[in-house]
Amino acid sequence: MVRLSLEELYKEVILDHYRAPRNKGRLDPHDVALERNNPLCGDEIELFVKFAGDDVEGIAFEGKGCSISQASASMMTEKVQGLPAKDAQLVAESIKRMMAGEEEGDVETLGDLISLKGVVKYPVRIKCALLGWNTLLEALEEGGKTSS
């Protein structure tokens, strides 16, 4: 995969979701609502999840913060909406490993999300990119759909 420049990362990946976030807003009714923040930069996410059986039926988020945290959360909701909770967990964990530099990231599993790998070059921003994903993992667990 060609490494994105910062400009490409922003222009081709981040800004689209930042300007027009998917699934932004409250989701009511919901099974789980969780608020998490990143103490370094003050980024905030409130995540709402509704399950149907073991599937993520609905997901939405409120939040404010830098473009990477908000865009990554938006991409996250788009990706996991409708997935079985177990598969959502797999994606989230794969993203985390990719961000930790532990794996390259699998295009099959991640699809467009692979482009988030561009953030790995900016270590301080990795926490921004992971805020939504970490909150998702907690929400799945709190919903009783996964165990860690």
Binding site: Y10, C66, S67, V124
Partner: protein
């Protein structure tokens, strides 16, 4: 005497290494300053020719180390107008303030008493007082600021009462740049029988600090923000208080006589220096004082006032919102701002690609961020090695960020 930044910059080796392939534009000295060769060399010389434990050995090497360490105490006292006896070495401002919490304040603040801080505190001058007041059943109050980031001195009479035991405030804000009228606050505090702790972390590197003029009881400052090494700082205390206070940490060197079950204490300031101290760092901090003395406090201040004015002007042109006093005579060279929709964190990453280091976030002042109604700000801060060209590089880089987000 005005400052020749091209000459000064040559003292700082860090500028020889490119940042992201560009010349380094370092605008985060309020977080930590860069170090001149003179300071680095002094530390090296200590380790290479004088290194030994201090106040212990009866051999010449230890005497040399002791002389270097105590010489640094002199210099660090001189820098704030104090005799060396009042100077306690610590790791930095944070430890200095915590030391007051665990000693004087632990003994003198009780249930029902009040501690007064301001709405512009750095967490290091807030959390210790939160913990103290919670533990003691005392009350923590916050002197408000106005919309320009100036202390509401008109409310001082309401906020300092006969229950106030301690007033803790910064001499200069690390977010707003505001220089506070500490002497006035101290007069009001003393009239009410309260003691005053001054957080001079931002002030000491940049403006003249004189403990006699401020008439404060304690004052804290850090080495790493004023061209000195990390791991060193100072707590100044009034002698009468230092004499009466219990020690902070227990250990070697702070004792006079020790029995199995009890001990008596060494004289001030050694009573507050337990164990092997940060010797080489104190020596380096002393060298930093000498470096800054050679540049001249007034010249440093003049230079920063000019540069801050220039930066505020250019930032305004970009449409950025600037926090803190408009009048540069009331503030230091710390400029916090926000640029339209560009989150400070994004801004910082983007300008970094141009070799520009600015700070983005809450600047260890979350309550102040809430007061300003923002989650975060960007911040550029200046020191002796910066000039107008650095501001220009920042402004150009900001234009690019703005373009991406437009």
């Amino acid at each position: 005497m005005s400052m020749d930044v091209d000459v000064i910059r040559k003292d700082f080796p860090i500028f020889e290494t490119p940042a992201n392939g560009k010349p380094l534009t370092y605008l985060d000295s309020a977080s930590s300053s860069q170090k001149p060769r003179q300071v680095i060399d002094r530390i090296v010389r200590f380790y290479e020719t004088e290194n030994a434990n201090v106040h212990r050995g009866a051999y010449q090497l230890s005497e040399m180390a002791t002389a270097a360490y105590e010489g640094a105490r002199e210099a660090c006292g001189r820098w704030i107008g104090s005799p060396s006896r009042n100077i306690i070495f610590t790791r930095g401002t944070t430890e200095s303030i915590n030391a007051v919490r665990f000693t004087w304040a632990n003994q003198n603040v009780g249930a029902g008493d009040e501690v007064l801080v301001t709405e512009m505190e750095h967490h290091s001058n807030l959390i210790p007082w939160q913990l103290l007041t919670q533990e003691k059943g005392a009350t923590l109050r916050h002197l408000p600021i106005d919309d320009e980031g100036l202390l509401r001195m008109d409310l001082l009479g309401e906020y300092i009462t006969e229950r106030t035991k301690l007033v803790a405030l910064p001499l200069m804000s690390n977010v707003l740049g505001t220089i506070n009228p500490v002497a006035e606050v101290a007069a009001a505090a003393h009239a009410a029988g309260a003691k005053v702790v001054v957080d001079a972390a931002q002030a000491a590197p940049h403006i003249k600090v004189d403990v006699a003029e401020l008439d404060c009881d304690f004052l804290a400052y850090s080495s790493h923000k004023m061209c000195g090494p990390t791991g060193a700082g100072v707590l100044y205390g009034r002698i009468e208080l230092l004499e009466e206070m219990p020690p902070f940490m227990g250990g070697g060197e702070m004792i006079r006589e020790v029995w199995a079950d009890r001990a008596t204490w060494n004289e001030v300031p050694f009573k507050f220096e337990a164990g092997t101290m940060n010797i080489a760092q104190a020596v380096g901090m002393g060298a930093a004082v000498e470096y800054l003395e050679a540049l001249g406090e007034d010249a440093i201040r003049d230079h920063e006032v000019r540069l801050t004015k220039y930066a505020m002007g250019r930032l305004e042109e970009t449409g950025a919102i600037i926090y803190g006093p408009k009048d540069v005579s009331k503030r230091g060279g710390v400029v916090s701002f926000n640029l339209d929709d560009v989150h400070p964190h994004d801004l910082s990453t983007i300008v970094d690609q141009h070799g520009v280091c600015i700070r983005a976030g809450h600047h260890c002042a979350q309550p102040l961020m809430r007061r300003l109604g923002v989650p975060a700000t960007a911040r550029a801060s200046f020191y002796v090695y910066n000039d107008e060209r650095d501001v220009d590089v920042l402004i150009d880089a900001m234009a690019e960020a703005k373009g991406w987000f437009a």
